[in-house]
């Protein structure tokens, strides 16, 4: 079978496998599957919320020059969108029929009844003033049935004040998405709906902010850039390979094993896992980059095709051993990455062997050029020692890692500045601090939340924070509800509205004797057949479910109730106040996410070091050549150091993405080193080896050097890292050895 036919068969098979795998493939976005085991309560909270909490960040809609009426019309339409959980500010509720039914029916459980005549007078004075304004029948009905306005105030305390949402110059709407934090597809759908809705209201060029908006934009830009750079890379690679092989069939054949490997990676992953993480796929393809070299080596060696396989097997084997470290990486996402890369690499190697077997390569023209000297190869140790030391010194002095991942964001500075201003305006920028309450059951969690609220009120009075918000106003603990029920019984036993403190205060303020009869009647009915307010009442209500879901969480380890703190001026003082409440932790979400990134990076670094060590041991066992093994690993280390040094110099440090790119650099460096250190059988073999390694290095360098010009910092970083690593590895291994004279 000719090379062209084998290539066609391979590509068809790859297409079939990839197609079948895609049919069954479910891609996940839960970043938690890549993160290390949480080390503290803050990290634990972050990891638990990452995948399951929806609407992690609101979409901020800015409407310039909009009237209040126009803004409310837009908000009403946005609320009808299926992917919008809440739209703030929410409408005022001053009529009983506009208050969610569970809250209205069980309003007596939402607030303590005032104790004594003075307290009742204070409440009723406020209702007297309300009645002066609320001369609609519905509003008077509400005052009569809920003199504490417990239902209204519970709802009001769950949302930012309306006046924070701007005026006619610039009005602001906040959309809390229904989609999960990393479901970019759903976010994109929501944003398209939002833009369409705004367009219908005459806002043709809406300004939207929020991390969901940036993720969608970034994904679109990344896809755009990926397409552009893929096209450029394909053209450049095709020209390069054509220049090298001078046969179109070889150009296509060179790409076939990697495509077959990618298809196999997809197939195996979809068979093994119900859901494959997007990151595992993205970096799986990156790690597969090393497989491009396999057909290049095999196709370049025409004089003695069998000779190359000993080295190639060594390369494939050591890379497989290195990548298998990901299988024991300790995180499901990393394991998926390992499965994808290992199956892909193995199949790419097998595909290369089958593709280039027998007479398939007979159509290729011979490699031409000046004959290279053949014979034993002497390996110099000093070049990589010098380069590795020179590159490692600045790394050690400055620290190789980038902790501020914000530096990688491609979002324009002006957008970020407006974003920060909007968050400051509505008080969401301070939402980095959370008092997380955990307990085995919901009742215990709610009681702890109430206890924490009492202490946080003290902090409020002491000026240590500006506000705190929890589920407590809307969902008191059962014990608090029970206390309030006792209060209702006492109130009724004392005569209700007809005698005692209430009656005196009401009479003094000119209220009629029966003015609050609806309140009294409801209290009597409630006393006869009390109904507790439960979390299911809220979760089963369409308007309250999303709000409730932001504050209480049913986790695998019990219930979690969150109290969001804003405007903390004295973190330590607030933390001290919460001390002693077993199960309540003050969490700094920003700090927790920073430490999570640090832990993730440390984990990847450890894995890479382990992978390199495993490859070194494998090489030594397979070759029994200690000098060669040390030389190979030394060159890999030097190439990694150069690459890392460049990353620190260009981008201020290495991100977790750069570390994955370094894994590819290690694989490629090993490949170049293996071929440069092998002893050629004859001058033709030596010439073909030189040419093969050169074309391998050139092709990788061209592809990743192009990517280095991407406007997306993460892509550019990967491009710079791999291109620099490839160049360093090629030159180090090419000039770090010489043929032994006289052999």
């Amino acid at each position: 079978m000719t090379l062209a036919r084998r290539t066609t068969v391979l590509l068809v098979l790859a297409a079939v496998v990839a197609g079948a795998a895609t049919l069954d493939l479910s891609i996940g976005y839960d970043l938690a599957s890549f993160l290390p085991e949480p080390a503290d309560p803050g990290q634990r909270l972050l990891v638990e919320r990452l995948g399951q909490v929806s609407g992690a960040d609101a979409v901020y809609v800015v409407l310039p020059e909009a009237s209040e009426a126009a803004t409310e019309a837009v908000a009403a339409d946005l609320r009808a969108l299926p992917l919008a959980r809440r739209v703030l500010p929410e409408p005022d509720v001053l009529e009983p029929n506009l208050i969610p039914l569970p809250i209205w029916r069980k309003r007596l459980l939402l607030q303590d009844l005032p104790a004594g005549e003075d307290a009742w007078r204070e409440v009723l004075e406020a209702r007297l003033a309300d009645s002066a304004l609320a001369d609609s029948d519905a509003a008077l009905e509400m005052i009569a049935a809920d003199p504490l306005l417990a239902s209204v105030s519970a709802l009001e305390r769950m949302a930012p004040a309306r006046d924070l949402f701007g005026n006619g110059d610039r009005r602001l709407l906040l959309i809390v998405p229904a989609a999960a934090m990393f479901d970019i597809g759903a976010h994109a759908e929501l944003l398209a709906d939002v833009r369409r809705t705004l367009g219908r209201h005459g806002f043709d060029d809406p300004r939207l902010y929020g991390s969901g908006v940036y993720s969608v934009d970034l994904q679109a830009r990344t896809q755009q850039e990926a397409k552009l750079f893929s096209l450029l890379a394909t053209v450049a690679l095709a020209l390069l390979l054509f220049w090298h092989f001078r046969a179109p069939a070889a150009v296509v054949a060179a790409g076939a094993p990697m495509l077959a490997g990618a298809a196999a990676g997809l197939g195996v992953s979809s068979l093994v896992y119900e859901q494959v993480h997007g990151i595992a796929l993205a970096f799986g393809f990156t790690l597969l980059g090393v497989a491009v070299d396999y057909p290049l080596h095999a196709l370049s060696h025409r004089s003695n095709p069998g000779a190359v396989w000993a080295t190639l097997r060594l390369g494939v084997g050591s890379t497989l051993i290195a990548y298998s470290v990901f299988l024991v990486g300790g995180a499901a996402g990393l394991q998926q990455l390992g499965v994808f890369a290992l199956s892909g690499l193995a199949v790419a190697a097998l595909a290369t062997a089958w593709l280039t077997a027998g007479t398939a390569r007979s159509a290729l023209p011979p490699t031409t050029g000046r004959a290279a000297p053949a014979g034993d190869t002497v390996l110099r140790l000093w070049p990589w020692v010098v380069v590795a030391t020179a590159a490692a010194l600045p790394l050690a002095a400055r620290g190789p890692f980038l902790d501020d991942l914000d530096a990688l964001t491609p979002i324009p500075r002006e957008t970020l500045a407006t974003d920060a201003e909007l968050r400051r305006q509505v008080g969401t920028n301070n939402m980095r601090h959370v008092a997380a309450t955990r307990a085995a059951d919901l009742e215990a969690a709610l009681r702890l939340t109430e206890a924490a609220a009492a202490r946080l009120d003290d902090a409020l009075l002491a000026g240590e924070l500006e506000a705190h918000r929890s589920i407590s106003p809307l969902l008191p603990s059962r014990s608090r509800q029970s206390e309030r029920m006792d209060g209702i019984r006492q109130f009724l036993a004392g005569g209700g509205i007809r005698a005692g403190a209430f009656a005196h205060a009401a009479a003094e303020l000119s209220f009629g004797g029966d003015a609050f009869l609806p309140f009294h009647d409801d209290a009597v009915a409630f006393e006869r057949s009390p109904e507790w307010l439960s979390v299911d009442d809220l979760l089963n209500h369409p308007e309250l479910a999303s709000l409730t879901g932001l504050y209480v969480l049913d986790t695998s380890a019990g219930w979690m109730s969150l109290t969001f703190l804003s405007g903390i001026t004295d973190h330590d003082a607030v933390a001290d106040r919460l001390n002693g409440l077993d199960g309540v932790q003050l969490v700094d979400l920003v700090e927790a996410s920073r430490t999570l990134v640090v832990d993730l990076r440390n984990r990847i670094s450890i894995l890479l070091t382990a992978a390199l060590s495993a490859a070194g041991v494998a090489l030594w066992l397979l070759t029994r050549d200690r000098r060669r093994s040390v030389w190979l690993l030394g060159n890999v280390a030097a190439a990694l150091a150069v690459s890392a040094c460049l990353g620190v110099w260009l981008r201020g440090g290495l991100s977790p993405f750069d570390l994955m790119a370094l894994a590819l650099v290690a694989g490629l460096s090993l490949d170049y080193g293996l071929f440069h250190s092998r002893t050629p059988a004859d001058p033709a073999d030596a010439l073909e080896t030189e040419a093969a390694v050169l074309i391998c290095a050139l092709s990788s360098f061209v592809v990743f050097a192009l990517l280095a010009f991407s406007r997306i910092p993460v892509l550019a970083g990967i491009g710079q890292t791999v291109a620099a690593g490839v160049a360093a590895a090629y030159f180090l291994t090419r000039f770090g050895r010489y043929p032994k004279p006289g052999t």
Binding site: S131, S136, A138
Partner: protein
């Protein structure tokens, strides 16, 4: 023998009388609107008021006292001093109510005093009665009577000469029958260019009145 009336002359007199009677309310109407427009308050000038209201929850009228003024950006502010402090700001179709009181906290078992008070905003288009009342106050304070003219018939009655000028009373009656269900009538009383009293009636046991307590000053005759 008494002369028989000339049928033609009588007809002309009746016709003239009818024409005159038809013209009279129109003339009175214009004067009433002009008078209302002249009541415009100087911005930021504060006037004490006493407000009484009665509704179905009350057995006797309740009174509040405070001061009101129109801000430089056209917002009517009513600050109630007694029986308890509160501030109402009428911003277009919104009422912003601010009470520097105490509020119940999440802890639920005690109150926390807040410097900035609690604020409640009401959109008034759902609450037609309250909207009308507040719109009238705002329109009268700002001297913009175009909306009132559109919705009400007015009648001006001259009363007597007082130290403050010529006393007058204007009655506004909603033109629309649906509107009449929300608000039966509005009576405004004053002297010269000063409004002294505003009474809004929604029925026998549902009304609200505001008395403005200007400091005494010289006569401002109205031409």
């Amino acid at each position: 023998m008494a002369r028989q009336p000339d049928a033609g002359r009588v007809g002309r007199v009746v016709a003239a009388a009818l024409a005159l009677s038809a013209a009279l309310p129109a003339a009175a109407d214009e004067t009433a609107w002009k008078r209302l427009a002249d009541l415009r308050f100087p911005r930021e000038e504060r006037v004490a008021f006493a407000e009484r209201h009665l509704n179905r929850l009350l057995r006797a009228p309740a009174e509040q006292r405070g001061e009101l003024w129109l801000t430089s950006d056209g917002i009517a502010v009513m600050r109630v001093h007694a029986p308890r402090l509160e501030e109402r700001r009428i911003e277009g179709d919104r009422l912003v109510l601010r009470r520097p009181h105490r509020r119940q906290t999440d802890a639920g078992d005690r109150d926390v005093a807040l410097d900035n008070g609690t604020e409640r905003r009401r959109k008034l288009d759902r609450d037609r009665g309250a909207h009308l009342v507040l719109a009238i106050i705002l329109d009268v304070l700002s001297g913009d009577v175009s909306e009132l003219r559109r919705r009400f018939d007015s009648t001006l009655t001259s009363l007597h000469q007082s130290a403050e000028g010529h006393a007058w009373e204007i009655q506004l009656v909603p033109r629309d029958s649906r509107l009449r269900r929300e608000l039966v009538s509005v009576r405004l009383r004053g002297a010269g260019r000063r409004l002294a009293f505003l009474h809004l009636s929604r029925g026998a046991k549902n009304w609200r009145e505001i008395r403005l307590l200007f400091p005494a000053r010289g006569d401002e005759s109205v031409n």
